[in-house]
Symmetry: D2
Subunit: 433 residues, 4 copies
């Protein structure tokens, strides 16, 4: 399949945004277009432009935009006056989602979790998780990690590392200690051992934790991928010290790193898992906190929310689970595409003496600075490729293509990226070209 991107030359009139949308908007600044239609890996703008999407709603569109199977299921549901909003009442859609979760996700993996439908945002799923950990343990302290990202509401924000985001709180963020992630101090230092030492020392000043909250691959913090060994150590440390282990799988889960969960096959089972982003399959707001049954000590309504049962998302999510995860075909596709991505990024890295990051279809390349990365992503956008950055200094160019992308299209998009990096880092080449 030939790659036919065709970005628009001109930006549309966006005065309504200047007039009526808050300054807080961000992505729209680097993509001054107005989009109106999308399918699969393609985004279309109001001037007829067509863009390849390597951002995928920050991994919220793992199955691409408006996947026809999900789209049809949703249209059918709406057409038949299916329940749209039902608080946390029982609905057919919810029952079918829970069944699909049980049949396709939990049972085959030997996992036993209960689903808590929090408000349909990742940050809400994290808030619920840490609330529950505090309730179960009677402790206050949450251990999160350097470069971790967990959300913008106050409880989740305290667990987030980014100083700019933290500064928005306007109050000191408390009851969380940020520990060094795997490899943070270089390959020589076992950061799990450093943590263990302090937790075992009654005079370290580190209070006994309610939970250890970790991403296996840090989506916003630079695509740092923790090793299975380190994660097993962290799981063991949590257990030893009476803390719950919470895996925040909001960005790395739902197939992004290969399996449905990012921690599959690693030899440990989290106490709590948070999911959101691609869970609905179609980009609808949906979030979930999975809880080991013996930890499900909530009182009815103790954590609630108006939109905690998004029935449209139940429909598309159940459909997506059954469509993509009933057998191993999709997983195989993702593995193959992940390998392709790894090969291409490594080649680029080798060419320029750079390093790569990540795992599965969640990978990036460290171009050294946010300035270079911004040059690269701007050049990509001009060529019709939507791609964004990650990391403490936005120095990682991050590839989050839909998992459903054709191999050839993935290759074509990476050609654009390769050229943009070359142009940014080898200006002479850029001029010649």
């Amino acid at each position: 399949m030939a790659l036919t991107v065709s970005p628009s030359a001109a930006a549309p009139d966006i005065s309504i945004y200047d007039r009526r949308e808050s300054q807080v908007r961000s992505y729209s600044r680097s993509m001054p277009r107005q989009f109106n239609r999308a399918e699969g890996v393609w985004l279309h703008d109001s001037n007829g432009g067509r863009y390849l999407d390597f951002l995928s709603g920050c991994s919220s569109l793992n199955y691409g935009h408006n996947h026809p199977v999900l789209k049809q299921a949703l249209i059918d549901y709406i057409s038949s006056d299916g329940i749209t909003h039902g608080l946390d009442m029982h609905t057919d859609a919810k029952a079918e989602f829970l069944s699909a979760l049980e049949d396709v996700v939990l049972r085959p993996r030997g996992l036993d979790y209960r689903a808590m439908f929090t408000g349909p945002t990742g940050t809400n799923a994290v808030e619920a998780a840490i609330k529950l950990a505090r309730k179960v343990t009677g402790r206050e302290m949450i251990l999160a990690f350097t470069n971790g990202f967990h959300g913008m509401t106050l409880g989740a924000l305290a667990c987030t590392g980014n100083a700019g985001k933290r500064g928005g709180a306007g109050i000191p963020l408390s009851h969380v200690s940020h520990e060094a992630f795997d490899g943070y101090y270089g390959p020589e230092v076992d950061t799990a051992a450093l943590l263990e030492q302090r937790l075992s020392d009654p005079s370290s000043g580190l209070d006994a934790p309610a939970a250890i909250l970790v991403e296996t691959v840090q989506g916003e913090g630079g695509l740092n991928a923790a090793s299975p060994e380190w994660l097993r150590k962290i799981a063991a440390i949590a257990k030893k010290h009476g803390a719950l282990m919470i895996v925040d799988d909001i960005q790395a889960g739902c197939g992004r790193t290969g399996g449905f969960f990012s921690f599959e096959g690693m030899g440990f089972t989290p106490d709590i898992v948070t999911l959101a982003k691609s869970l609905s399959g179609m980009g609808l707001p949906f979030a979930l906190t999975l809880i080991r049954p013996e930890l499900d000590v909530w009182s009815p309504g103790e954590h609630n929310g108006t939109f905690r049962g998004n029935n449209h998302a139940f429909v598309t999510a159940a459909t997506a689970l059954r469509h993509f995860w009933s057998d191993d075909a999709f997983k195989g596709d993702v593995a193959r595409r992940g390998a392709l991505l790894e090969k291409r990024l490594s080649r680029m890295a080798k060419e320029h003496g750079l390093t790569t990051r990540g795992r599965g279809m969640m990978r990036g390349i460290d171009v050294g600075s946010g300035e270079v990365a911004s040059t690269v992503t701007s050049a990509c956008f001009d060529q019709g490729l939507i791609i964004e950055t990650s990391g403490a200094h936005d120095e990682i160019v991050k590839v989050l293509a839909p998992l459903t992308i054709e191999d050839s299209v993935l290759d074509g998009g990476l050609d654009i990226l390769e050229q943009a990096i070359r142009a940014a880092l080898s200006p002479a080449y850029g001029v010649a070209a």
Copy 2:
């Protein structure tokens, strides 16, 4: 129109929920049915039962379930591959929503706000509002009110009065002081004056506030309606002491109390307004923080979130704004229905020596205790009427019928309620009947 409710006699098999849904679920406990379809004021269950909905998704369905105009707009949008998930990129749907907001809501009311699309839950809109107030003022303290309800994430939860909800936090909730709401200490005590005294006293121990956060009618806290005079005093106090006034209009807004905003015509303009619940018109997750332009000091992305632009909700919300709010017809209907509701509830109250609460189509009756209220709502449910409670002790039976309800249907539903109250409070009558 005759009222043909027909509740199902038997509960369905709900073992999947016991097995796979968290104990935190609440409404489904008092409504042991599985719903599958809804339109207008009606909910249908999987056994063919039909229920009149006086809960309306806690005021998230002010235009009823699956309103045909909104439903068609959404189906059309999905069918044409409209953008489903676009982070905060510009989309046709967003532009149209902003235009509708400007044309139909802001300009006619002489209001100048910018829209911040937070994560699509009310609690997120509140978190954004208090963050911004703290950023603008450089202060930490938020003043909220007794019986206030603002959400379940940590920042909003600190502003919430309910002890059960607060207890779920697992850490002390700080940086908020809960002041007495209008009428809290009885009609004789001007609680605004009490607040003013402490704020003006440098030795009161009450720190200078970043914001005063108030609901004009307390939806969860017992349908207490503040008087316009009191609200004007609060607005003046906020201004005098350099604090922002935030009206949380999540439950009382979008027409529930008569106007689009609950504070219309009261003689003050909030600095920040939060909206959610019925904003999408169809019950889709959607939330908004409206900000006076001069206070819009956010840095790009300082508060963000994956689902902060729910395009499906943009579509239905814009359609709802233009359909219902372009002229005064709907407002007139709501006023008439609100008067009917008031008349009927007052009659019930008079019959039993009870009191009523609320304003517009957001009213309830205080039946004296949570036990009685529970008896009443259970009896209603058995008769096919879905209705819930509010208040510190769940002692208020709360009528949140769709605003679009036919007058006769409203009347019919209130007949069921009237009889249930009579049965609960006059047992002899109950037996006789």
Copy 3:
């Protein structure tokens, strides 16, 4: 006895203070003299000036300066190489203090307390008290009062009302709610009832308190004296809601208001009492937290401090207890002097349409503003009378004469005050005089 005050005309060289003492110093600014000697009610400066002391170290010198009995006991102790510093070891001096406390204070009043020797400052005694209350109850919230003053370390400061002091913390002060003191909203409003309503309301937002911390007369906050009725209500509220009642008797205790404790004969028994200031009798650093035995759940050393057993203070304190409190003579003297003080202050108040405050020998007059009060105290100082202010705006001129003052000297000092007030409020008179 004639009143022979003779203030120095000139200030001494104080360059060493400018060079080497922090800007935080305060009293020395309004009293630009250097003092070198003191006995009884008299202070002497390095230029031979002699001043009558109506400040008494903010009630730390209730028995006057260097009382000969205490002074001799201390010299004897030091001369015999009595233990000066012994951490919390048993010493003869400590045993004698505990015996005197038991014999003279506790047993005659039917009180059963254990003494916790905290670091020798009032703030430390308060920190210990609130720590213990939190430990006993498992709750975090402390209820303190408007205009309360409890100390400058972080835990006690959070309980203090004064905004200037609070601002020094540099972090938000949490886990304390400041309730309205007796009479705060005027004589019509029963502030105990307001508190009770919120504590009994599970939706008020006021978390269940660990303790209610109260001064019976607010020494720094304006000499507001709570009524016995109100205090009994507060004690009952604490008991009803499972909170400890802590009376901070640091300024009002040790005889200042008449009895040894300020709450004697009021019909309630605090769970915890804090003492400091005049406890040593001679102005030595000493503080004490008295605890009902069943609440004494401390682990050994859980709250400690290097100077927690000040043996010099044990010596003078024990001597003072036995000397002044073994019979009722001293109490009678204080009552008589308090009545004299009340009479004189009321006369001044009546003359100028002002109001008086306080109880016993802890009284003041509200001169309307901090400016007037400052004029008054400066004029007094120029006449050789040391007197200071109190209150949210420093608007109360506060008489804290030694309790041992001769009636005639008290009268003479009040003459100076009377004239200074007259001069400040009747300028013509001032000129004439």
Copy 4:
């Protein structure tokens, strides 16, 4: 001089303590005697026993008990009716103390500090220091260290590492991060570099600090002595990141480690220094926060306290400064005794394969466990030697002899210790002996 210890065989009647002193008492539990007299290195009990003091009030008695020069100065002062309590008024005693501080301490060392007289306890000096750092920087976070000990009031307690002490707070301790002290992760890991990495990383989750608070030798935390190199790095890190460097010299200062300050000659100057313990010279309550003049931004009275000017302590402190620190003789004595102590402890350590800790006259030996250490100190006490433990597990036997101890007496005391260790670790020997 022969060593004539003669402990009492029997414990005295201590029922008064059981009846009237709080359970919080600690040292008296391991030393069940009642002391009545002390001079130099000797403590005497009420049964005629005589004990050699290797505890020295936890380094509050660096010049021994009741040093005759200090004692006489104090008796003279009291006899002449010198001001005992003067709040923060100018007094002759204060002026003389400030002059001595300037003459003997600051000027010879080229240091420029202002003295803030806080409440007379170390914890109060620390609270003042961190308040000021927060005020100066506008930041909240304090960086303290593993095993650090800074006091028991809430602000200082948050900086303290010990879990048992922290647990007494009853609320979560916030706004402090505990970093790894020098050598905490073994000699290979440069903990200053670890800290620097996180402070320089905008996504580490470590908020910008107001201050770094450090002890050069951790008195309570195990006598860990930081290297000059590490301390210089910490000072440089503080400067680079806009934080103040606070040296808590409460236990290690006043000569304990050799110089008057523990950081002398190390090539950096702290912004703030806290002193207490031995500052008065005689064990009287006294504390001081030294501030670089440009940081002295306090408002008058912003941090105050009743006993903030302890005039008795001014007298003895000034006398001590002039007596011991006017020339280098005392410093030389301490150096020699420190070397002797080091030699003896090293010999013991070598004999049993143990390690030593500390610096100057602040040294200890790690006997492997709190149980062994307790056996050792009990055995010492039975032999008339008062000695205590330190460290996270109380596993360090700590020698804090008076600095004025005769070399031969020091040697004799160490003989007792050596034998007690031998008995504890070589039971056969113990039996033989």
